[in-house]
């Protein structure tokens, strides 16, 4: 800013006096509206410091005259949401499972709520469409280890299976091979016998009588004389077409040798009762419920 009275002769306007390689800079001040806006933002900032929390202190911060906090705002919003849902969710909590299924409005609500919560909590094991996977039951079909009525489904969700909860379903498939109860040829015989129960093909020349005897001696306690299973113990029905771990001979041999003990976590305490109820209704309405 050396020569203040230097003027550009073409435009007739003063320059800043700066010059680079013969090019001079016109003195073009900022527009008044721009400057005023800038001052306004400064004033606004001062106002903001006073009204909202702004400055960090050694222990804490200036709270501002509004005492606004994000956390309180979120809590208030959530409370508002709960209040908004309140009536209908309350109805879900008080109605019985059977009543919910009979009331189209409640059923739709339970299904919608159940589907969302299922996606958040159950999908990792059972799949987003509840189709399950090896070792994780398909909830769309009508084969239930622990029972498929509304109450049974709800109980399983609430307390789980082998989950460590005091009311959890207990019972497991023993490891007949690993524990030395059966020898390998006996396991092959009984595996083929089990396949024959559900009409599957068997290994040529296997000893059916031996298989039947081993089954009668070792398996009927849980799976029943005809192999139809026992939902009290979570013993699988061996006569149907659905196999949780697979129905081929190798898988069956492995199951008999090493046993199975899948875990279903207990959801009591992690989900509120009306949500568990909604989930039971949702799972039941997938189509396999009894």
């Amino acid at each position: 800013m050396s020569q203040h009275n230097d003027t550009d002769h073409i435009t007739g306007r003063s320059t800043t006096g700066h010059e680079w390689d013969g090019i001079k800079e016109l003195n073009t001040p900022l527009p008044r509206w721009w400057v005023l806006t800038f001052y306004a933002t400064i004033i606004w900032a001062f106002g903001y410091w006073v009204v909202y929390p702004a400055w960090p202190l050694v222990s804490g911060y200036t709270a501002g005259v509004l005492h606004y906090t994000n956390r309180a705002a979120v809590t208030a919003n959530l409370a508002q949401l709960e209040a908004l849902r309140g009536e209908r969710m309350k109805a879900l909590g008080t109605a019985s499972l059977a009543d919910i299924e009979k009331d189209p409005a409640l059923l739709a609500l339970a299904r919608a709520r159940g589907k969302t919560v299922f996606g958040d909590n159950c999908a990792p094991c059972h799949g987003s469409g509840a189709a399950g996977a090896k070792g994780y039951p398909n909830l769309n079909d009508d084969d239930w280890l622990w029972g498929g009525t509304l109450d049974q489904i709800m109980q399983t969700i609430q307390f789980g299976a082998r989950s460590g909860h005091a009311k959890a379903h207990e019972g497991q498939m023993l490891a007949f091979g690993k524990d030395g109860v059966l020898k390998s040829d006996e396991i092959v015989a009984v595996a083929n016998y089990v396949r024959s129960l559900s009409g599957l093909s068997t290994r040529k020349g296997y000893d059916a009588a031996k298989g039947e005897k081993i089954f009668a001696d070792n398996c009927v306690a849980c799976h029943g004389e005809s192999g139809k299973g026992n939902q009290e113990l979570g013993a699988a029905n061996l006569t149907d077409k659905i196999w949780l771990y697979g129905s081929d001979e190798a898988t069956l041999i492995e199951t008999i040798s090493n046993g199975r003990a899948g875990v279903m976590p207990a959801w009591e305490g992690r989900l509120d009762p009306s949500t568990i109820k909604a989930m039971a209704v949702y799972v039941h309405s997938l189509g396999g419920g009894k």
């Binding site: 189209p104 009508d142 029905n237």
Partner: protein, 486 residues
Amino acid sequence: MTKNVTSKELMGGDDDLPLYAPQKKIYPQRVSGTFRRIKWGLMALCLGVYYLLPLVRWNRGLGAPDQAVLIDFQSQRFYFFFIELWPQEFYYFTGLLILAAFTLFLMNALGGRTWCGYLCPQTVWTDLFYAVERWTEGDRRARIKADAGPLTAARLARRALKQAIWLIIAWWTGGAWVLYFSDAPTLVKDLATFQAPAIAYIWIGILTASTYLLAGHAREQVCLYMCPWPRIQAALTDEWALNVTYKYDRGEPRCSMKKGRDLRALGEKIGECIDCNQCVAVCPTGIDIRNGAQLGCIQCGLCIDACDNVMKRIGRPTRLIGYDNDINVQRRTSGKTELFKPVRSRTVVYAALIATVCAVMLHALLTRSLLDVNVLHDRNPVAVKLSAGAIRNGYTLRFLNKRGFDRVIAVDVDGPANAQIHIVGVDSVTPDRPMIVLARDTTTELRVLVTAPFDEKAEKTQPVKFRITDIGLGEVASATDHFVTP
């Protein structure tokens, strides 16, 4: 001091015109005649329909709105006299838009910018606002004189009165607008007692402001600078389209009335335009039609009336300005008779397209079903194997009951052999045929399971058809999808 150099000098030349010309005030003069009468008639019709339509009642039975034309956003219904449209029937509006476009094209091919001059809301409301201006402040001369003179109390009072009437019209325009979206008598009462929803007042405010600004102040500026149609229509017109035209072959060379009479007596060929400037004085966009077809001409025909009045007074044939086209100018110059061809391939095609779209829409409207069903197959899982070996597929069915009463329907399935149907939450009345109640004027969404025995020989994917039957009326609707075997 150094000399200030203007930008024009810097850029060198007169081509450097500003991109926006400051608005020249236009004082259109009152005129009477055929086209003015047509315009009054159309204005009365358009404004009458707009202002009064929401007040027309239409009985649709108990519980249904009894307003003839109602756009019910809340319950997502559109009522138009005997027609009730649902959101998924939006294609009717598409059809209307297509129809409007073709009608515009046809009008353009026949009579140029007929839309602009007679029917465009901007023209209609501006015309109304001009009428108010003439009534309060006097005609062209009086207004020019008053604007040039000092601002007297009387002048101020007239201006205030004009603005007040403009605002009342604008406010009433906004008021009529919101009546299309709610029950009119109730809304009027609520508005008057300040019980109406805020959105109603906001929309009245928006429409009041836009009407007042556009019709009162922007006027011809909308046509000249804001509206795309003048630009588009230039591409749609052809040499046969009738346009408001100054017949320069008849009018030129211009000559004063007295001098022209003398010269004509001597047998000289002299033009009929006496340069009285009446066509310019009455023009609402302030153009001179004698400069030929131009963007600013909205083809309202008021210059035709003005010119005809003058021609009658001086005893010359009328329609020196009239609906004409360039072809006729050339034919007249070369001594041929005038030729008008409203029936040309272009107009025939437009008319045929309009008729086709009308027929299709009418057919769709008359055969539209008031009972409908949509189906969505479960994607995850696509199919489920049951313990006994049967296969089950899940579907979401959406039932639409477009009638104003509850109805009982039965659901049947035609699919794989021995297929069984079950609706979640519904007990089947007969083993394979559930029945449900559809509430009036609603959609119902239900989960439907179809189970069929496993058949090794059957195709992996078989068609499945859901058929719903109204038990009372016998109306039938169906939807098809697939039954998948894993």
